[in-house]
């Protein structure tokens, strides 16, 4: 995938959240955005996925110039996984997936069902197809959310701290699913606090602090940070 950000900024209530973001990342399939809370990571992801628009600057994801494309058109090409699962509680796992394929992506009932069942099998969720979100664990719900976003064969999948609401055991369950995405060569951008996981799953790291990109590069920057801020951040993360 290719990401181009030029002079991007964003404010909420006159408070600068993102300040002059510039980046050009090419030929990477798994990008992890890391940094302390309040660094603007989730906001950046929301701009990349066009859930929100920047106050200034230009963003380009692959061939999609986000200031020129309509959100509806762009949403058909991407997947987004939120911090907590967003399964529709009145529908079964299977219907959560097939509804989108049938109604938004105009697949037939048979096609939609086949896509959903294949993916659920691939991610070892077949036994839950007739359950509703209330009958699943937090980890299972989040995994289904990921599968649901994958079902539309997105160009890029955006994941916004998908494990932030989970306990350590369930976190591992979800992280394993994301590692599988990497093995499947899926393009994804993930905001995460799990540094060891980022090192394993990503091939490019963006480190942010106070609304700015402070350092970015291959995963090797996590072993050999160039900036004092990243060094400090990593030493705080691995305090114990």
């Amino acid at each position: 995938m290719e990401l181009k950000l030029k002079n991007v900024c964003k404010k909420y209530d006159d408070k600068d959240i993102l300040i002059d973001i510039n980046a050009h990342i090419k030929d990477r399939s798994a990008i992890a955005i890391i940094g302390p809370s309040g660094a603007g990571k989730s906001t950046l992801l929301r701009l990349l996925s066009l859930i929100e628009t920047p106050d200034c600057g230009r963003i380009c994801v692959n061939d999609n110039h986000l200031s020129e494309i309509s959100p509806e058109e762009y949403y058909k090409k991407i997947g987004f996984v939120f911090q907590t699962h967003t399964l529709f509680p009145h529908l079964t796992v299977l219907r959560n997936i097939t509804l989108i394929l049938e109604k938004v992506h105009n697949k037939t009932v048979v096609e939609a069902k086949k896509i959903a069942l294949d993916l659920l099998e691939h991610f070892e969720l077949t036994e839950h197809i007739h359950k509703r979100a209330g009958q699943l664990s937090g980890g299972q719900s989040q995994r289904v959310s990921i599968v649901r976003s994958l079902a539309i064969s997105p160009e890029v999948l955006f994941l916004d701290e998908p494990t932030s609401s989970l306990d350590p055991v369930l976190t591992q369950e979800v992280l394993k699913t994301i590692i599988k995405l990497k093995l499947d060569n899926m393009n994804f951008v993930i905001v995460t606090h799990e540094i060891l996981f980022a090192k394993k799953a990503a091939d490019y790291i963006i480190f942010m602090e106070e609304g700015r990109i402070v350092e970015m590069g291959d995963v090797s920057i996590l072993d050999d940070p160039k900036t004092w801020e990243l060094k400090q951040f990593l030493s705080n993360v691995f305090l114990w």
Binding site: F80, T84, V104, G134
Partner: protein
């Protein structure tokens, strides 16, 4: 396993109902005036009693429908950016929550209904009282309905709306496939609960002379002197309407709570 649990539940409920029935029979047996207990005195009045019972059901259903519409309008008012509209709804809600139903009905009937009748040159017929009573009952229930809508709307969290947008659903699709099916299931228990409240509250329409169940049985009682018998019949006839409604409420409450 589930079937066994269900059978056990049905058996236990029937047993509890039986014990309760025995208790009622025991109370009747021990009732000091049982020698004079003559239910048959009311038989010749069964037609008007059933008529009153049907009127109670019809008034309740019409009040439910009108109060749902008014409640939704009050909900919209509460969301209005024009503060005057918002506060109009708030003040009306506080007036209702602060008034006993019977007082509210009488005030509406005598201070609003009757002057309008006189202005329009209408006489106070049972039908006329029925219409004013139904409107008054609906007005009283509207703020309760507003709260039902507010609770239901808030139960669909913001993340779900965001997810619908990111998945590319159109506004129609969002409402048709995601929001309305959820709202319907969430709304049914409190609506059935409010209908029970309306049925019980409709007995107070007797105070403005609406010929509903309470009123008709009172007429029968004053003609036959079967006062205790009349109240017992009234008691049972209200329960015939309200118990199924309470069961429906519980059934849907369980269904909805299974989602969370």
């Amino acid at each position: 396993m589930t079937k066994i649990k269900k059978t056990n539940e049905i058996f236990s409920f029937s047993a509890a109902l039986f014990i309760f029935g025995l208790l009622v029979i025991l109370i009747i047996m021990m009732y000091p005036g049982r020698e004079n207990f003559q239910l048959d005195l009311l038989f010749p009045w069964s037609n008007i009693i059933v008529k009153g019972w049907i009127i109670t059901i019809i008034v309740s259903i019409i009040s439910l429908v009108i109060s749902i519409i008014l409640g939704f309008l009050l909900y919209l008012l509460s969301k209005s950016k024009i503060l005057v509209f918002k506060y109009l709804g708030t003040i009306f809600g506080e007036v209702v929550f602060g008034s006993p139903l019977v007082v509210f009905l009488i005030v509406i009937y005598y201070f609003i209904g009757t002057p309008i009748n006189q202005y329009l040159g209408l006489s106070s017929t049972p039908i006329n009282r029925l219409i004013i009573g139904t409107i008054a009952l609906s007005l009283y229930m509207a703020p309760y309905m507003k709260n039902v809508f507010q609770g239901a709307m808030e139960s669909i969290d913001d993340m779900q709306y965001q997810a619908m947008t990111v998945f590319g659903f159109t506004t129609y699709q969002k409402y048709r496939y995601i929001i309305i099916p959820q709202l319907l299931k969430i709304l049914i228990p409190p609506l059935a609960g409010n209908l029970t409240f309306i049925v019980k509250g409709s007995s107070l329409l007797n105070f403005i002379g609406v010929p509903e169940l309470y009123n008709q049985i009172t007429t029968a009682q004053s003609n036959t002197y079967a006062v205790v018998e009349g109240y017992l019949v009234m008691f049972v006839m209200y329960l015939i309407i309200t118990i199924p409604l309470i069961r429906i409420t519980t059934y849907f409450e369980k269904k909805v709570s299974a989602w969370s």
